[in-house]
């Protein structure tokens, strides 16, 4: 298997509803990634694109073909990946496999979404399509509903009083906003307090407004290259050294594991084993904090904290820069935003910049190994491990 490097990244601002089309958003991020990689669009051999809701947000399916043409990667094989909020990460993992296999040397991969442009009501409906439409949606299942249920289950299962858990969760949102201020591409650049979180509108009990990530428009794109190609292009390649992906059945079928998500444990084990590392080796982590409780659940399964104990980490500063494991110093989905198809590539772009030491105030000094964690629907998981390559 060949080594695979990231040699460029592009990232639009993550915003509330924009007037740019999905093709325009993706293409802007793509050209930035191409320029940073010192290549031309015509050098690209294939294009992978993560997108969920183009059909609903602007009546546009098959985006991948139009963006390939827009950026001048004429007639390349272009493929769309759909795995709910993990779509973009699936696209990255797939591109990794093609290059690792020797089939391609240069692949453009990213994601785009206009989840804010859809509006809250239709966005809530379309996000609910990432649940079982026949056996669970009739009961009114939505995404905040899933994590509301997991919050109550977590409280009961680990015997953490709800009031205490809620305060721990509030601290997570507070940290995300504190870092988002330093990310020029973040949707929110505004500090919040625990009190703000606990006074918010109740969306799906016990999740209040600031426990939830926003709906977001935006795109993020990276360029992947084989090791030989990467050496021609950059002195600072970041290698993808481990990948994992896993799937799940409908939420009720996960009864033996909830509030843990078994597919995450399957996926991250693949990635750690492939990279030959343990959680202790990780310097920086971007994980899927679609809801505050989701950070706690993810951080435990990724191996950073014992099950039932991660909640204290944020209040104690263990998830900050300088703490045990810096988590979501980009601002995360909560503050940076969550344009679902673009979220995975955005997480990868953050780790890429972190390992290259390019993150300014939010830089994790000396970071050599970083991981991403992306959750789609009620159980698609993709994990990627990246290492500094020089």
């Amino acid at each position: 298997m060949k080594k695979v490097a990231i040699v460029g990244a592009g990232h639009t601002p993550f915003t509330f509803a924009t007037e740019k089309t999905s093709v325009e958003l993706f293409s802007e991020a793509a050209m930035d990634a191409i320029n940073e990689a010192n290549i031309k669009a015509k050098d690209i051999q294939a294009l992978n694109l993560g997108n969920c809701l183009g059909d609903f947000s602007e009546g546009q399916a098959m985006l991948q073909s139009y963006v390939a043409n827009d950026i001048g990667a004429f007639n390349v094989p272009a493929t769309r990946f759909e795995g709910a909020c993990a779509s973009g990460s699936l696209a990255v993992r797939d591109a990794f496999i093609w290059i690792a296999s020797g089939f391609y040397d240069l692949v453009l991969v990213g994601g785009v979404e206009r989840a804010a442009s859809i509006g809250t009501s239709l966005a809530t409906r379309t996000f609910a399509m990432f649940t079982d439409s026949h056996y669970e949606y009739p009961a009114g299942m939505t995404f905040p509903a899933m994590f509301g249920m997991l919050t109550h289950l977590y409280s009961k299962h680990y015997n953490v009083p709800l009031e205490k858990l809620k305060e721990q969760m509030a601290n997570i949102s507070v940290q995300s906003h504190a870092y988002g201020i330093h990310n020029p591409n973040a949707q929110f650049k505004k500090e919040i307090t625990v009190e703000n979180v606990l006074k918010g509108f109740m969306v799906c009990s016990p999740l209040q407004l600031l426990d939830c990530c926003p709906f977001t428009d935006g795109a993020a794109v990276i360029v992947l290259a084989s090791e030989e190609k990467a050496k021609e292009l950059t002195d600072k390649p970041v290698y993808i050294t481990g990948v994992g992906q896993s799937s799940s059945g409908r939420l009720s079928s996960q009864k033996d594991h909830l509030p843990r998500i078994k597919s995450r444990e399957v996926s991250i084990k693949q990635a750690y084993d492939m990279a030959g590392i343990t959680p202790n080796d990780v310097d920086v982590c971007e994980l899927h904090d679609c809801f505050s409780i989701a950070s706690i659940i993810a951080a435990e399964s990724l191996g950073f904290f014992e099950f039932g104990t991660a909640g204290d980490a944020w209040a104690k500063g263990e998830a900050k820069i300088g703490g045990k494991i810096p988590i979501n110093v980009s601002g995360g989905l909560k503050s940076k935003g969550h344009p679902i198809g673009a979220t995975g590539p955005s997480q990868v772009a953050e780790i890429y910049h972190q390992l290259r030491g390019e993150c300014g105030v939010r830089q994790v000094e000396g970071a050599k190994i970083g991981i991403t964690d992306t959750l789609g629907g009620d159980g698609v998981i993709c994990n990627l491990i990246m290492e500094k390559g020089w």
């Binding site: 009501s121 809530t124 026949h134 056996y135 249920m149 109550h152 289950l153 009961k156």
Partner: protein, 135 residues
């Protein structure tokens, strides 16, 4: 290979007050809602059985922000219930006031009935949706 129990037939039975599941003759576990294979062992030696409509609430949420087309249902309670025979299913809780619902409801015994889900432009309509009442 054909499904032993289709969604259509599961939903129709629920609408007549019967909860159907699949019993696996390889591992003896019951799978509800139905699937192609046993949820426990992946086996295909399944037979349709009627499942006891009693269980306990495992977790819940009160939904205040409803999806498009269901705004008039909010606030409503969505819950996961562990049936006496083991499987979990998702449904609504009918006879509890959403605004007064706390975690005390977890562990309470419930009985399954159903309401009609009319569907919308995306999801198939006229399905029986699981609805629980506290006993």
């Amino acid at each position: 290979m054909e499904y032993k129990l289709l969604f259509k037939d599961y939903s129709k039975a629920l609408g007549k007050g019967k909860l159907l599941g699949l019993k696996c003759s390889d591992c003896n576990n019951i799978t509800v809602p139905p699937k192609m294979t046993c949820q426990e062992c992946g086996g295909t030696n399944l037979e349709i059985v009627e499942v006891t409509k009693k269980g306990k609430i495992v977790t819940f949420t009160v939904v205040s922000v409803a999806p498009e087309g269901r705004e008039n249902e909010a606030p409503y309670i969505t819950a996961l219930v562990e049936l006496d025979q083991g499987p979990w299913i998702m449904g609504n809780i009918a006879n509890v006031e959403p605004s007064e619902t706390t975690m005390d409801i977890i562990g309470k015994e419930v009985k399954l009935s159903f309401r009609n889900f009319p569907g919308d432009r995306y999801a198939p309509g006229n399905q029986a949706r699981p609805t629980f009442t506290l006993v």
